[in-house]
Each structure stands twice: as structure tokens, then as C-alpha cells.
Amino acid sequence: MNEDRYYIKISPEVINGDIFNICYPSGNTYPSGCTYVYSGMSQILSGGTNGDSLLTGLTIPIMITETAVDVGLYSIFDGNLLQSDVVKNFVFSAQTVSPKRYYFYNTSDQKYKNYLKFSTFEVDWGDGVSGQTITTLSPNYIYHDYINNGTYTITLTQKNPWGVNTVKKTIVVPFTGTTIDNPNGTAYFTSNVGSWSATPISYDYIFTGDSENNIVSQVSSNYTSTPFLITGNTDSRITELQSYGKNPYVLNKVIKDKNNQFFGVISAMTPTYTGYTIQDTQYLDFIDGTTSYLTYSSGLIPEWMVQEPIVKDESLMNIVYQPEVQSDVFIERGKNSALERIERLGEVDNIGDLENYGYGFFNFIKQENL
């Protein structure tokens, strides 16, 4: 017998109630009292009302089991929510002081770049100049100076063995700082081989048919104000502000880096602590040897943060044996629902968390001199 099949024999020896109790009618010639007569199984089975069995309490215990199998494949993809635009996307920026210069940051995901190592990236600035190969990822950037005013489409093309992914975003020259329509652009996919007639070749990240077609209505109500204050303990960096001479630490003396840019300054020297600033981070060296730092997050202001709804890519919930790059998305063994809101912003308490929030939800580009 295995666990999926049971054999049970019901016979007189396993039942209770196989005895007929026959009591004699009064006045007969038999000895008084009752005589017990063993009844055969067939008599018991049909001795009830309407031929039913007399064994009305016949029960058997059974074991019901299930085979619980975990695929057992764990990878860095496990539990991750990966949005399509994480694996190929870019952001652009410009400054009103030089409104014809646009900066381009390739934000295609870096954590998973091992899976993208076959990819090459090319930027088409949309003004007729031939495409420019880009080999670096954000925060490195490239820029392009437009000659004429107008509307241009910047295209990032990611070529990989599976096909070609492109993301297109429209810009306006000169840059005026106005709101950018559809900042996430439109994603396209062109396969290398095969017929993809049933596969959408492009889509906006926000579908225009939604009844509430705005980002705000689709994002979590949890939010934090930026830039936010970050504090903590660290090692002292006072030695980086040393000057030559017999008095290496000079109050309010600006220390510059090798590029002659502001590096830091000692702002306070008291009997209990020494205060100084290095690269916009304030440090306090206390007399007991501890050091605290105080800084603000990267300096992004809400206007420069791209809000987008976090929607789990449901294809990631397929059960697959390996992480696979399929068309323009990564496939992983997902665990959670697509409707699940990723409301983890409350856990963000430092820059690293914010950068990792939503697996690249915020495109972190530090803007200077805006």
C-alpha cells in the first residue's frame, strides 16, 4: 500500500453489532429469556430500513496528504519586483542657463547588469546626428548640444541577443523647465526573430485608457519630503582638512580639492567638539572620540523627482526554472500580487534606502546649479 491507495477490509471481526438479539414471545415452549444469534455479514448489510445496512456508524480513518514541492531555485531575482523600465531606461536633464544642452543618463539597471552584459546601448538625439554609443551608466552622463530649437525625440536603443529594446522620450529645445509630458517615455520592443504579431510592440508606461489617467492617483499615499535630513555616527574625517604648516587645522579656512573646487571647512572648534563640513556633509568630532554626521539627501526636490506608479510586472510571477530575459522584461519566480502596493517608503531613512526604494523607483540624478 502506498500513500495514494488504501485497502480496507470490513468483515465480522472488525465490526461491532453482528449479533441479533432474539427474545421469545411469551408463552412459547422455549426456555425463558433471550437467545443471541450470530448474524452473517450479508444479513447485517441489508437488515436495516429499506434494505440499508445496519452499520450506520461505519467509519474509517483516512490520511489525506499533499506533495509540497518548492521549486528550490533561489536567485537574486527572488522576491524582487522588477519593472520593465528598470532594465532599460534613461533620464535626461537640462539647465535653463544653457537651454540647448541636454544631459543623458543611462539608468538601465546596474544591479542586474550581469544579465545585461550582452547589451549595447546607443543614443539617438533625434536631430539627424548619427547615433552615439554609450558605454557608461548613470551617474555618468553624456550630453548633446542642439543647434536649432524644436521638439526632438531622444531614443535609447538597447541591443541584446533577444532583440532590440528602445525607449523614446520627447524633449523641447530650448529647455524652459516646464513640465515634461510622459517623462517615462514609450517603450518599444522589436524581436530579432519570429512573428510577434500578438505581442504589443509599444506601450506607454501609463495607459491612456485608465479612468484616472494621472500618476498621482496611482501612487502610494505614503510619501516623504525631500531633501530629508540624514544623521548618524561615522569615523572622523578631520584629517582630510589638514593644511600644511605647524598649525594644520585652521578655523574657517576653506580647503579645496585638486580641481580647486570647494572641499570642506572647519566651522567650529570648542573644548567639547570640533565641527567641520566636507562635501556638504557636516561632521561633529566630540571629545570622547565619536563622530556624528549630518547631511541632507541628495538634494532632489519634488519637482525633479519622477513619480510613477509601482506596478508589479506580472510576468515575473511565472514559475520558471531560471531567470530569463524574455522580450523586454525579466522573468522571475514572483511571489506577490500585482495589486500589492509596495509601500516601503517608511523604511527609507538614508540615501541608500532611497536609491534602492522600489528597485529603482526614483531615478537618482544629482542636479547641480539648478
Binding site: 495514494d4 488504501y6 485497502y7 480496507i8 477490509k9 470490513i10 468483515s11 465480522p12 471481526e13 449479533i19 415452549t29 426456555p31 437467545t35 444469534v37 455479514m41 444479513q43 448489510l45 429499506n50 440499508d52 452499520l55 450506520t56 456508524g57 461505519l58 467509519t59 480513518p61 483516512i62 490520511m63 489525506i64 496528504t65 499533499e66 506533495t67 509540497a68 514541492v69 518548492d70 521549486v71 528550490g72 531555485l73 533561489y74 533577444w162 524581436s191 519570429g194 504579431s197 505581442t199 504589443p200 510592440i201 506601450y203 501609463i206 495607459f207 485608457g209 506596478v311 510586472d313 506580472e314 510576468s315 511565472n318 514559475i319 522580450s327 522584461v329 500580487s337 500585482a338 495589486l339
Partner: protein
């Protein structure tokens, strides 16, 4: 990365309502046709055991798990023979309303089920994510089942159709959007629904609009229980061999008693002779229900 398969046989917590019980009766193992095949109500005859103070857990509330008590109804188990009980996951028979994609994520394919086509007793299963892990089998137009083929539901949510203007006319204009509220449409993603990397132009079959399907849970492994109801066993045979016996000289009634000295069998013993009084046969004839109660063993021997 760790690769392997982890798992074990675990006691199931299945609810009786998720179980189908099919009964097959045959009077003999030699019978090859005229089977009696009928469905029994699992909610009535299948009962899980619950923990008590001795087993630990929350007494009478927490299911023990795995161990169930199956009652054999007296109106069905009323004959000698072989009964085969087949316990399988309950089958929900319905129809694919549409095969579509999500409007916001068009690369997500799935089937849409209209809850109006779902049997009433199973509608409580159709909640958001309530069907995850369920298996879908497909029927052909002629009612036959596609053999050895199934898909597994990886997610299901209420949805509503939305209309989208598409430049590519070969694509469907109707797409679906998840909604938090209850609707009569359920969007189910299945696995596999994505093309394999080695064949990127292949779209796995997940069904067709209007196709009849069978949805069944995967809460437990199907089992069969072979129940043989027999007339005799070792005990009764031992009674016949070793039990007390009496033979009434006057009327020839031969009585066998069981271990409790209850009358077990009673026979008429007689001889058949020819006209010349030559003995031809000695006969032992079962009296059946015609019991002579005066042959009470206790009365005879005291």
C-alpha cells in the same frame, strides 16, 4: 544561487467542500462491467479531526491535519462486495470568457472567467488570489478533455475591460484592468504564459475564448480507498472450527456456537435411505434464519 527541489509529503488541510468523492461498487473483483458509479457528498461524510488537549493545538478549533474520518453511508454500503472510493480535488467546470492582456502591462496574458458561469457552490473560491495554484484542464468542442495537458493559475484578480485605441489593428482593442472591488470578471494569469527563450515567437496555449475548462484545486493528492466487505474472516472460520457445538439426537439439529456461545450456525442433519433402508446420503442443511432457539447452549449444558 541554490538549485534543487525541496519538499515533502505533508498532511493536507483540505476542506471537505474541496473534495469530490466518487464511489464505485462491484460485487466481485471478477466483474468487468455494470459498475455502479456515483458521487457522494463529501461535506456530509468526510470530517476532519481536530486537535484536543492531548494532541496540542487549539482544541476543537485547530485542524489536526491529514487525518480525516470517512463515514460509509449505510444506504450505499449495504451489500457484500468491493467498494472503491476515489477522492479527488473538487472540479469547477466553467468557461473561458476571453483571453486577454492587461491594459497597463500588455505583455501579461491571461484568461478571463465570467463568474456568472461558475457554479454557485464554488463562487466563494473566486476571490482575488483565491485561485492561485489551481489547475486548469481544457475541454475540446466535443466535450472530450485534452489529455495530459494543464496549466496552473499564478494569480487571479477581479478585473474590468477597458477599450484602447491601438494603431496596430491586429491587436485586440479590449484589454483588462485589475480592480480592487468585486466584479463578475476574473483575470487569471497562468504558467507558462511567456515564450521560452529558446523559442521566443511561441506563445504558450492558455485557452481560447468560449472554451470549457475544469478548474481544480491542488490542496491534496487524489487517493483511492479500496473497501472490501466480506462475509467471513478468520474469526468466523475459527468459530466454525473450534466453537462449541451441539447435536440434537431427537430432531437432528446441529448447532455451532461462537465464542460467546451465541448461536452461530444451525443445520439440519439427516440421512437419505432407499426403499431397502440402505443409507444413500448423510446431509447437513443450513437452516438459515430458521433458528431453533431452544438450542441455547447455556440451557442445554446446565
Amino acid at each position: 544561487m541554490a538549485i534543487g527541489t525541496y519538499g515533502t509529503i505533508r498532511p493536507s488541510d483540505v476542506s471537505p467542500e474541496d473534495v469530490d468523492i466518487i464511489l464505485n461498487y462491484t460485487p466481485s473483483r471478477d466483474a468487468t462491467d455494470n459498475f455502479i458509479l456515483k458521487s457522494l457528498d463529501a461535506k456530509t461524510i468526510l470530517r476532519p479531526y481536530f486537535n484536543n488537549a492531548s494532541t496540542g493545538g487549539n482544541a476543537d478549533i485547530e485542524i489536526l491535519g491529514g487525518l480525516y474520518n470517512l463515514k460509509l453511508p449505510a444506504n450505499e454500503f449495504n451489500k457484500l462486495g468491493i467498494y472503491t472510493l476515489y477522492l479527488r480535488p473538487a472540479q469547477i467546470r466553467t468557461q473561458i470568457n476571453d483571453c486577454g492582456v492587461l491594459s497597463a502591462l500588455p505583455n501579461i496574458k491571461g484568461i478571463v472567467i465570467n463568474l456568472d458561469n461558475v457554479p454557485a457552490q464554488f463562487k466563494n473560491k473566486f476571490t482575488a488570489q483565491g485561485l492561485v495554484g489551481f489547475r486548469i484542464e481544457y475541454l475540446n468542442d466535443d466535450g472530450t478533455k485534452i489529455p495530459n495537458f494543464f496549466r496552473v493559475i499564478t494569480s487571479n484578480f477581479y478585473c474590468q475591460p477597458v477599450t484602447q485605441n491601438l494603431t496596430n489593428t491586429s491587436q485586440k482593442a479590449i484589454r483588462y484592468r485589475y480592480v480592487d472591488g468585486v466584479t463578475n470578471l476574473m483575470f487569471c494569469t497562468l504558467t507558462p504564459s511567456s515564450a521560452p527563450t529558446n523559442k521566443p515567437n511561441a506563445t504558450p496555449f492558455i485557452g481560447q475564448p468560449g472554451q470549457n475548462i475544469i478548474i481544480s484545486n491542488t490542496f491534496f493528492n487524489p487517493i483511492t480507498i479500496d473497501i472490501e466487505v466480506a462475509e467471513h474472516d478468520f474469526n468466523t472460520l475459527a468459530i466454525a472450527l473450534y466453537g462449541n457445538q451441539t447435536k440434537s439426537i431427537d430432531d437432528g439439529i446441529y448447532t455451532i456456537y461462537d465464542t460467546e456461545n451465541n448461536i452461530y450456525r444451525q443445520y439440519n442433519l439427516y440421512e437419505i435411505r432407499d426403499e431397502y433402508n440402505k443409507l444413500l446420503f448423510e446431509v447437513r442443511q443450513d437452516r438459515g434464519n430458521n433458528i431453533d432457539f431452544s438450542k441455547n447452549f447455556t440451557s442445554i449444558t446446565t
